[in-house]
């Protein structure tokens, strides 16, 4: 392989965590209503942030997390900084517990994501309540938490598949 192709492959591999977060933001914005409108869109970008922060924290740093959060704010029409702040908090939590989540316990990453997602939606509820000068309905937040945790194993596999390319590139 030529040096240019090697460099390009290496760059693409490094960009995979951020790009997967970007794709997750777009997937979350695409209309999909098999559940007759009941399903609140899962927090797909949080899945990418969590996965890469425990698998490759050197490639999913605070800056990509911040940008993913801002894009999520833009696409969901939420207040600017809302998801950026929450994703950064979730990132800080998952990185700090990385050893625990990636331990020998097989369900560790899933439980770790459940804990992170719970913290994230709780924080989202608190900030949303502050913004609206009173407690907002907690049910949609809980539904989003359950939907996110349900979908995570599928996305974990997809990220792991993408990560194999990463392992070859870096």
């Amino acid at each position: 392989m030529s040096p240019v192709a090697t460099r390009l492959g290496r760059f693409a591999s490094i960009a995979i965590p951020f790009l997967s977060g970007l794709v997750c933001v777009l997937i979350g914005a695409v209309p999909f209503s098999v559940s007759n409108g009941f399903l609140v869109t899962p927090l797909f970008p949080l899945m990418a942030v969590f996965y890469w922060s425990i698998v490759r924290p050197d490639l999913m740093g605070p800056t990509p997390v911040f940008i993913i959060g801002l894009l999520q704010d833009i696409f969901t029409a939420g207040p600017p900084g809302f998801w950026a702040f929450i994703f950064l908090a979730a990132y800080a939590f998952s990185v700090s517990q990385r050893i625990l989540f990636t331990g020998r316990f097989a369900l560790g990453p899933w439980l770790g994501f459940a804990m992170t997602a719970l913290m994230a939606v709780f924080l989202a509820w608190v900030i949303a309540s502050i913004f609206h000068d009173g407690p907002v309905a907690p049910l949609p937040f809980f539904v989003q938490f359950v939907a996110s945790v349900t979908f995570y194993p599928l996305f974990m596999r997809i990220f792991a598949f993408a990560g194999r390319g990463l392992a070859r590139g870096v």
Partner: protein, 302 residues
């Protein structure tokens, strides 16, 4: 050692770890700053949003196509399990609708007679822009849609958006080729409505649940479950009389919710209404003559 750490995906050196922590704190402060700025001036980031909506519209449209196909397949599969109940329900509904059809035809004829009698002025005809839903942000915090029509198609901020069943929301941001529609169920949605048959005015307030609340009812007014809710036209942005839903009164008579004809959750095509609010004031029908008597105005309104 460093190489081994790198393969494990960890940080290579304490310096790298420190820089990560510093960046984390700084960016968290920036995000919090954005939150406070956005709260103080929500229009500040509107331009950025419009640009992103316009730019990402083709990508979202491309992504929506295969997902729509998947959605249809899933729905077709799940429909198999409910086909019997659905058939029964449709038979009952058909019988009920036939009764309604006769009643509607009768009413239509009667209204035509009344209109002719009163020489009633019909509200100016509204024009429509039909758009496809290309983005759907059904989060716990915001309920909005992105549609593929913008300023170039005649869409402007504030216009009402309907689907086949009734009002679903209003345009809150209009980009060049795409617009964002805030659904009636959104926490910050407030729409002036009229409750029929009483003609009572109130505000329909979203709270992120599927059933928005009725607020600011005049004192002493008690609604009943099934009362029809339509737009009032107050403010001149929405045409009056667009169907919204029916009232549902709980145990507490003050807690009135609205079962909407459409939440917009399954909307694929929507219509954006360009309503021309009549701004001119008609000349009075009666004027005083020289003797101070009321007579018909010789120069009536156009």
């Amino acid at each position: 050692m460093n190489d081994r750490r790198r393969r494990g995906g960890g940080f290579r050196a304490p310096v790298e770890l420190l820089s990560h922590r510093v960046a984390l704190v700084l960016l968290s402060l920036v995000a919090a700053g954005f939150l406070l700025l956005g709260r103080a001036d929500s229009a500040l980031f509107e331009g950025v949003r419009k640009w992103f909506s316009d730019t990402s519209a083709p990508v979202l449209e491309a992504l929506a196509t295969p997902l729509r196909w998947a959605e249809e397949q899933v729905n077709a599969f799940t429909d198999i399990f409910t086909v019997y109940e659905e058939n029964e329900r449709l038979r009952e509904e058909n019988a009920r609708l036939l009764e309604w059809k006769n009643a509607a035809l009768e009413m239509e004829a009667r209204i035509k007679r009344y209109e002719a009698l009163l020489n009633m002025q019909i509200a100016p005809e509204s024009s429509f822009v039909t758009a496809e839903v290309i983005g759907d942000t059904r989060g716990p915090f915001v309920r909005a849609l992105i549609v593929n029509a913008g300023i170039t198609d005649g869409v402007t901020k504030g216009q009402a958006v309907i689907d086949a069943n009734g009002l679903i929301g209003r345009v809150v941001e209009a980009g060049n080729s795409s617009s964002r529609v805030l659904l009636l169920t959104d926490l910050s949605s407030r729409i002036p409505v009229v409750i029929e048959p009483y003609g009572v005015r109130a505000i329909l307030a979203g709270d992120n649940s599927e059933y928005p609340r009725i607020e600011f009812l005049p004192p002493g007014v008690t609604l009943s479950t099934g009362d029809r809710i339509v737009t009032s036209g107050d403010g001149g942005v929405f045409p009056p009389g667009i169907a919204v839903g029916v009232a549902s009164v709980g145990d507490d008579p003050g807690d009135v919710r609205v079962i909407m004809y459409s939440t917009g959750a399954n909307a694929q095509l929507v219509r954006i209404i360009d309503y021309n609010f009549p701004t001119g004031v008609d000349a009075p029908a009666l004027v005083s003559n020289e003797a101070g008597e009321a007579v018909l105005n010789p120069q009536p309104a156009n």
